[in-house]
């Protein structure tokens, strides 16, 4: 198990290096000029050039990358070229609210998706099953921003019971809980459908398996058969899907955070890219990629826990 974990951990390094290189190059190929953006529309070219020198953007590309990697090795992600704030400080300020939002989304979406999928499978072909599948298809199809705006209209405006203009406080306060409800429903909403569908398919496979038939023959209760003998085995593909979906959730967080003015890393990334703040944009790319890689690593490890057969592979 430890060997399996270490192997997967070692694979993270080249992936991360690739992400760094691609992230750096991507920001270079975008035909933007941070110096021009900072100087403003009325600045003359000599002012723009002075800013370019000040930011080090007049250096050759390889030199800029070498400086960047050298700093990164020391844990220094640089400072924002827009407002001079250290990138690590901004990331530190925003990662918490994003994790908070993702956690609040997953905490209801995963159990609900698995519950709906299991019920759908158990009552296969019934009206309940069809209704659940219809809801899950709608959930998969609905764009995040649309769901967000719909919820704002319904619960923020028509029945004005919930705030929707940003993080209203820490999660352990009543204000904080109120403020996270709509963003969490929005972000989690797109998660329920895929989990429900995968759970349904997986549980259906398991319900027809020999060991389930044996469990029933032994006279075990239906709840025990479903929860203990079916669901656990059905979890392997579901966990894989959840891992992959968390990656997409990060993408959804960017939209959700923008719609709800949530002060997270997604909104920081959008702001950094829109203002051509290269160090900040690269910092957010690294952080989001790292999040994605770590989630996949966790899924790999969890996969091995759930199914011992994969440990040797």
């Amino acid at each position: 198990m430890l060997k399996h974990t270490l192997q997967r951990l070692l694979l993270v390094l080249p992936v991360l290096l690739g992400v760094l290189l691609i992230g750096f190059l991507l920001m270079q190929v975008v035909p933007t000029d941070p110096a021009q953006v900072r100087a403003g529309p009325t600045a003359t070219q000599d002012v723009v050039q002075a800013i370019r020198q000040e930011l080090g953007l007049d250096q050759p590309l390889w030199k800029q990358f070498a400086i960047y990697i050298g700093r990164l090795a020391q844990g220094d992600l640089g400072v924002s070229i827009i407002n001079n704030v250290p990138v690590t400080q901004e990331l530190g300020n925003t990662i918490g609210p994003t994790l908070e939002l993702m956690l609040a989304s997953l905490v209801w979406a995963i159990p609900l998706g698995m519950f709906l999928g299991t019920v759908g499978a158990y009552y296969r072909g019934s009206l309940i099953d069809r209704a659940i599948m219809a809801v899950s298809v709608a959930g998969v199809s609905l764009p995040v921003f649309f769901l967000g705006l719909g919820l704002i209209w319904l619960f923020g405006f028509y029945y004005p019971i919930l705030p929707f203009t940003g993080r209203t406080g820490p999660l352990w306060t009543w204000e904080g809980i109120q403020g996270i409800i709509l963003p969490a429903i929005t972000l989690g909403g797109v998660f329920v459908g895929p989990v429900a569908r995968m759970t349904r398919t997986s549980v259906l496979d398991e319900l027809g398996a020999d060991h389930v038939r044996t469990a029933r023959a032994k006279g075990l209760s239906e709840s025990r058969v479903v929860l203990r003998h079916t669901l656990r085995n059905a979890l392997v593909p579901v966990v894989t899907l959840i891992g992959l979906q968390i990656g997409f959730l990060l993408g959804g967080a960017v939209v959700t955070e923008t719609v709800f003015s949530w002060p997270g890393i997604g909104r920081l990334a959008v702001g950094a890219i829109l203002s051509s703040d290269l160090p900040m944009a690269q910092g957010t790319i690294i952080m989001l990629s790292l999040g994605f890689i770590l989630v996949n690593l966790a899924v790999d490890v969890l996969y091995a826990v759930l199914d011992p057969r994969v440990r040797g592979t």
């Binding site: 003359t44 209209w153 405006f157 004005p160 203002s275």
Partner: protein
């Protein structure tokens, strides 16, 4: 195309506004919503209107501008005189002014701030606005001498802009590049409390402040705390004001203004004298755009009134000339020379100039198609403005190709020579500023993106800038406006409207709009509960 989500939300809101009870926002801070934050709040390091709109609250300037956008009023300076030759301005500075930290403002603070702004060594993108400075010095403890190498008629208006704000030298030097990022100490009605970039900026009342400009009824601030909150998604912003989760905004989508006006208790107010204009400029040295007939035909074929009505939902105003009628030295007679909407006339003009319709309907002359490419920023209005113009020009046989760029890319692209025309919107305070910025030869290639290099224009603009007599300045600017109108260098399009929307919790909200600052100093604003 208008965003579907905007239409949906506005439509839904319009259908149901009556059902909305008073909501959430019940306590202390006044929350002002906007869609974008500034990069920093150092007055000399940023050109963003998002910085200016807060800077006027954080700091003061020597003089202020009245709501008419034409009259200069006292600010930190109680009075002033100008030497007959127009090179020496002497300001009498108030003695009762204190910074937010309680320290009395001295004449040295004023000298330091203005020198910091105008000194080329500081590489400020806005230092040129201070004019050809020879020296800025104190004379005693309350007199400031602002000496110029040559007359600069624009100085008083430029001194009213946020770039010329007086700041505390001690905190500027202590914070270095983090001044306006980690802290600020000014003499404005509100004090810097906390800034979370891209999210919110919290201001507290300056307890010492009692020297507000005479354009307000009450010279003292009435609100304990103001939160400038960034809501990047305009639909969310719209819903937040409607649901009364925030108090004031002037970033309301135009489509929602009528709905807002129908909501009981909501104040929706327009600044008639707001100066933020949209135009299309031609590069006059490009193959097709260099032909005056093409430029004039474009002016005649564009239905500017329809653009103002449709794209700004009836809230915009057609720009009748190169300049906004609200600006000082606007010349009505040159506005009268601006070609009127006349598509048939445009077609005749092109015929006469030798541009004959080709088989595809696009005109040709000497093997050259009447085609040009326009660049611009992809914002809320430009795509629709460009498409409307494209359709209008197509009707007279001109093919306008549109290439709009994301804001991250646009400024770099707009500094190139790749395009033939460009769409632009900008705020300004005087005719001299606007014309000098865009039409002086030395300003090419940016911001003089037209590559307009004309000795006569330069001479007239210099004369306007150096005029010590208002009539002479007006005369010089009138000549420039006439010359450029006749040359059809621009297609003036729309004057963007400024509307301040405030909920029933707010009293005294009045639209100002100097350099985009809708609430200017934030005085007279009160909270009812």
């Amino acid at each position: 195309m208008l965003k579907l989500s905007t239409l949906l939300l506005a439509g839904a809101a319009a259908a149901s506004f009556a059902a909305v009870p008073a909501v959430a926002q019940q306590k202390a801070p006044l929350s002002i919503l906007r869609v974008i934050d500034a990069d920093n709040y150092d007055p000399i390091r940023t050109t963003a209107t998002a910085a200016a709109e807060v800077m006027y609250m954080l700091a003061d300037t020597l003089v202020t501008v009245d709501f008419d956008m034409k009259t200069i009023k006292p600010g930190l300076a109680e009075s002033w005189t100008v030497s007959p030759e127009g090179t020496t301005y002497t300001f009498k500075i108030r003695k009762d002014v204190k910074f937010c930290d309680g320290r009395p403002m001295t004449i040295d603070d004023v000298v330091y701030s203005l020198k910091r702004w105008t000194d080329p060594a500081n590489k400020s993108p806005v230092s040129f606005r201070g004019g050809p400075v020879k020296d800025i010095r104190a004379d005693g403890d309350s007199t400031l001498i602002y000496e110029l190498k040559e007359p600069y008629s624009d100085l008083m208006f430029q001194l009213a802009l946020s770039f010329a704000s007086v700041v505390d030298k001690a905190i500027v030097e202590k914070l270095g590049p983090n001044f306006g990022v980690q802290g600020f100490n000014g003499t404005g009605p509100y004090c810097w409390s906390k800034w979370t970039p891209r999210q919110e900026l919290v201001l507290k009342k300056n307890p010492h402040y009692s020297w507000g400009p005479p354009i307000y009824k009450d010279p003292k601030p009435q609100i304990d705390e103001i939160v400038w909150k960034v809501i990047p998604e305009s639909n969310t912003l719209m819903a937040a004001i409607q649901a009364k989760q925030a108090d004031v905004t002037y970033y309301m989508p135009y489509i929602a203004l009528d709905t807002m006006q129908r909501i009981p208790g909501m104040t929706v107010q327009r600044q008639e004298n707001y100066i933020y204009d949209v135009f299309m400029g031609f590069k006059v040295d490009k193959p097709v755009a260099s032909d005056k007939a093409i430029r004039e035909a474009a002016n005649m074929a564009t239905n500017k009134e329809a653009i103002a009505k449709a794209i700004f939902f009836g809230k915009g105003q057609t720009l009748p000339s190169l300049l906004n009628p609200a600006v000082v030295d606007y010349d009505k007679s040159s506005a009268d020379k601006m070609p009127k909407y006349d598509p048939a006339g445009a077609a005749k003009l092109l015929d006469a100039a030798g541009w004959k319709p080709g088989s595809d309907g696009i005109r040709e002359k000497d093997g050259q198609k009447a085609t040009f490419t326009v660049y611009g920023i992809r914002n809320d209005s430009n795509p629709r403005i460009a498409e409307a113009m494209q359709a209008d020009l197509r009707k007279v046989g001109i093919d306008m190709k549109i290439q709009l760029w994301d804001a991250t890319v646009a400024w770099g692209k707009l500094a190139t020579q790749e395009f033939d025309a460009f769409l632009m919107s900008y705020p300004y305070v005087t005719a001299t500023e606007a014309m000098s910025l865009y039409f002086r030869s030395q300003q090419a290639p940016t911001p003089n993106r037209m590559n307009w290099k004309d000795p006569k224009t330069d001479e007239l603009l210099k004369a306007a800038s150096m005029a010590t007599d208002a009539d002479k300045r007006k005369q010089a600017l009138a000549e420039v406006q006439t010359q450029l109108t006749e040359a059809n260098v621009w297609v003036p399009l729309v004057s963007q409207p400024l509307w301040v929307v405030a909920t029933d919790r707010v009293e005294g909200a009045r639209a100002h709009g100097l350099y985009g600052a809708g609430l200017y100093k934030g005085l007279d604003l009160k909270l009812k509960r």
